[in-house]
Symmetry: C2
Subunit: 135 residues, 2 copies
Amino acid sequence: MTVVVGYVPTREGRAALRRAAQECRLRSAKLIVVSSARGGRDMQAEDARRFQELLEQVHVDLEGAGIEHEERQFVRGNEPAEDLIEVANETDADFIVIGLRRRTPVGKLLLGSNAQRILLEANCPVLAVKADEND
Amino acid sequence: MTVVVGYVPTREGRAALRRAAQECRLRSAKLIVVSSARGGRDMQAEDARRFQELLEQVHVDLEGAGIEHEERQFVRGNEPAEDLIEVANETDADFIVIGLRRRTPVGKLLLGSNAQRILLEANCPVLAVKADEND
């Protein structure tokens, strides 16, 4: 059994990763950490290097926590939603975990198109998580 | 610890309830089944009676499955999102479970305003579940 999480280096991304790791521990599932980069000319060398470092830190943290895991990095230029749904289908995931921005008291925040797409198109359940003060 | 589920008598509603019950069993949490009715002139006596019967069946099924649970029925005319979020806050819920319609191959299905509101405004994570052929 797997839990699939879309990793992005934001507060919401860290919240999603933390919750996904907890859920994996609870149900003895394997965590699949998916990250999507556009690649090509859009991605600066420095950004790519920095993102690699963050992913390595994720790996080290999950190792330290004893969570069975696997990282899958895509640089195909797909929308992140496509990569996530594909990995979830392929690994017959129990669910996908995504991070959502917290709605601010002023102004309406709409769900991003990527989040909507994952929620609507995924064949498995989707757990939507918000950041808290620890993230 | 509680898991809060919004119950509606549809395929998606049944899928959400089933999954919420599984998650409660996994984490020894109490299930809170929330249903919101408009009440007043909008609700026909026959509909109200039928909905009561369905809720009683939910109660019997959960008893039979040995899931600790509680039903909360609101007839205040609130949007279901408001009632769900309020109960989740009050019981410090681990998460809320909602049912979502499956996207059809033809035509774009947008997330309903109620689902968006729960996803964006809830203080806890939200697990969005779709119906499958068993529901």
